[in-house]
Homo-oligomer: 208 residues x 2
Amino acid sequence: MSTQDPFHPKVAQPDHDVIDVIRHRWSPRAFNAALDVTPGELHSLFEAARWAPSSGNEQPWRFVFAHVRRSAEAYEALLASVTPRNRAWARHAPVLVLVAVRSTLERNGALNTHAWYDAGQAVAFLALQATAVGLSVRQMQGFDPALARVACSVPELFEPAVVMAVGRAGDPDLLEIEFHRDAERQPRHRRPIGEFVFHGGWGQPLEG
Amino acid sequence: MSTQDPFHPKVAQPDHDVIDVIRHRWSPRAFNAALDVTPGELHSLFEAARWAPSSGNEQPWRFVFAHVRRSAEAYEALLASVTPRNRAWARHAPVLVLVAVRSTLERNGALNTHAWYDAGQAVAFLALQATAVGLSVRQMQGFDPALARVACSVPELFEPAVVMAVGRAGDPDLLEIEFHRDAERQPRHRRPIGEFVFHGGWGQPLEG
């Protein structure tokens, strides 16, 4: 089952044309534990994140990754920081990544109001690059930031924001939790743009 | 001057391969006021944002756009909300967009800790789609949220996060401020991934 298949339920069915990497990106819970992620692939993901825009070019994002075998101790510690429900599927992904955010500006220590927003931009670039190289990413908000901080030795100045699983999409039937198996086959839902885009003022119809 | 030119100073020179839309995306200040943005192009940008991932699929992003002629009053009001330095260049972009974020969860009104992060992801998708269709986006943190709220009638539940200019990149020589003209020709700088990606624990070298 590949998202290269246009009838895969997770390929977006957009109302307006969008680029292929956006159409084909989705967030699986089913990862194939037998398929590894190479260092070169990981480098391309982080390189993509690197070129994201950020307010004042602060680049407030940091990443700590752990590989199930090459850095097994860190992998287990980071895995232990996610909720049990996330752990049930995430443990099949060969790579886990902690996204950490510097919430203060480097030049003066003042609050960077857009640090999390910019980290989101970087991870979005990373996720699309992953799609392009045949990898999948699922981000988790469901984790304990204090545990993740200890697992990855994150300094005080930075905040753990997200843990993400990186690997190749796998067989939904191998997921332990029924809801997860089912979710993997449901079509994707999003608000149509007419519900979140307004022209000329809030609530006014999108007309171009 | 087009970013299709591989020697354009704003085309990223990555250390590792990344997809073309990431290499060619950059944030100009010089927009060509003579080149319009069509409704169809705008729809594709918002459609791209639509398919971004978000925590719990909240899709906390909203957009209010204004066109210099088709919604001139809103355009002027939104333009007036940005700092004078931003106004100097942004006024040449045919479209301005306010990004607003719902910081509470729809299901229970609790704080959505990842709302801004997720809005950043949506705008990142939008910016890459823009690159694919020949448009450019520059985001501004330098604006007055209270003025933008009034300009776009943003309800209390939502927070103005960013104002962005959308259009086609233009001639740097037409920019009024010398610093802006110069910046438009400088090569782009980013930390190499070895400085913001760690393997197995904070500060440990990236080795794959």
